[in-house]
Symmetry: C2
């Protein structure tokens, strides 16, 4: 019999798309664990959120909320690139995957990547790709990915 | 004095954005030198062209036309990804760069990559990235890129 005071991981960690109120649930603080990420005002957050909303299903940010603390503990994004090659094929690009340091070891990263890859597949992509450090290769292999190319970068600042 | 019957490389190879008439100028045949790329009907080309047009400057395809033959001899694309990290920073993603086999050795690839990187910079990107095979690393280094991460891929078909 299920207790009223505790819940399963599935009930506790809610996988969903980013909502406009998530700036108050630690979304930006979570991204700070990934890379350089200054705090932004609610207006700046709202502006970017609305810009991304214009892309509809072509740019989706997945979050996992810990409903016991109302904190965002994992996230990742995917955008759909429309090509001319492969009979006007689509490719999903996964970016900015991170799991809160206090919530690791519970397969939340795998859940985020699965959500994003499923989204790309359902939007007709023939593949989904991402760039990562060699340190994260084993994790993405567990998610069904294989190493293929190298990433090159040019910084402007 | 300039001859009327010949022109400089700069006059001969016109760098510009993709136009809807480029399906009749060998654009798809050029992409076939890059990867799997079946011919598509003019309607299919037009449909995808219009879909991409909705993104405005957030998705740009550069082509180089040889004005002496009215053939597209080089191309590449860039799309601008809007992020929350780095104070709502933007990143340019370069894709599908190819130069016609008959037009290599004239720095046309470098011109395409330069056009795309400049576009990303002018759109406020803090960096521009691309994935390539290790064989093409030296070319992109000449374009000012450095190797950074590894690309992982998951195919759906």
């Amino acid at each position: 019999m299920k207790s009223n005071t505790s819940c399963s991981d599935e009930e506790r960690y809610k996988v969903r798309k980013l909502e406009i109120t998530d700036n108050n649930k630690g979304f930006m603080e979570l991204l700070q664990q990934l890379t350089v990420c200054d705090s932004i005002s609610n207006d700046e957050f709202k502006k970017r959120f609305e810009e991304l909303k214009l892309y509809g299903d072509d740019h989706v940010i997945c979050v996992i909320e810990d409903v016991t603390s109302s904190k965002i503990v994992a996230t990742g994004s995917v955008f759909i690139e429309k090509k001319f090659i492969r009979s006007c094929g689509n490719v999903g690009h996964i970016e900015d995957v991170v799991v809160d340091s206090s919530a690791r070891g519970m397969q939340l990263g795998k859940k985020v990547v699965g959500f994003l890859a499923d989204h790309a597949r359902l939007r007709g992509c023939y593949k989904v790709i991402l760039d990562c450090s060699p340190d994260n290769k084993a994790f993405y292999e567990k998610c069904g990915f294989k190493e293929k190319e190298i990433q090159m970068v040019k910084y402007f600042i």
